[in-house]
Symmetry: C2
Subunit: 131 residues, 2 copies
């Protein structure tokens, strides 16, 4: 259950995200890849679906945008919950993980007999430079 070889489209989308210094919307990605033959949103969304499944990309719900995963791990099995700070000034996104939060959330959720499938934590604000 490692990450399979990426297809051409998946690689192109992954590349676009990896070389961007911030999150991109699906349509922005589409525009960046028109020279490589992309013509329709679905080409992007289908690739993104797989990349999300493989854990190579994260979706930022509060932006309707996507970022490459910055984890050094390079592979598989959830590093548990992923959280993000998102700067409204410069658009910079920082990914981080914390056991403490994870455990605390886990306990709270268990208390209501809720079964977690996906956790979204996004903090909007201003980074050090943009404060």
């Amino acid at each position: 259950m490692g990450t399979p070889q990426l297809t051409k489209n998946q690689s192109l989308v992954m590349g676009a995200l990896a070389h961007s210094d911030g999150p991109m919307s699906a349509y922005t990605i589409l525009d960046k890849l028109r020279d490589h033959g992309f013509r329709a949103p679905l080409q992007v969304y289908r690739a993104l679906d797989k990349l999300l499944e493989y854990g190579l990309v994260h979706r930022l719900e509060s932006l309707n945008a996507f970022v490459a995963c910055t984890c050094p791990h390079e592979h598989e099995h959830d590093h548990g919950v992923t959280a993000f700070t998102i700067c409204e000034g410069c658009g910079q996104v920082t990914e981080f993980h914390d056991e403490g939060i994870e455990q605390r959330l886990s306990a709270l959720v268990r208390a209501q007999s809720f079964k977690t499938e996906k956790t979204t934590i996004e903090i909007r604000g201003h980074c050090k430079s943009c404060a």
Copy 2:
């Protein structure tokens, strides 16, 4: 800086959300309020903007939808971070608050000299009944 008297449109939108048993999209609200004279999305979005500002309503980023705040409210000033569990089965949304998470997030964010403006925590999964 308490909550001012709501306007007619704001009251209608608030009522629609309060009497719903789950989150609603802006367009669903629009449809529910057509009989009351609503004709365009902006009427809903403008009311929602104010209700969000007053803290009477929350936006669920992962659903692009809105719910009435379930806090025993009656007043102002942030109860800090709001988190939600969202059941994929029945659509039920539960709002909760936790000092521990808040402090932990606050510390992590401070460590990167980030200034928080809004925090989103949404947990998708299945509730007890839908497990």
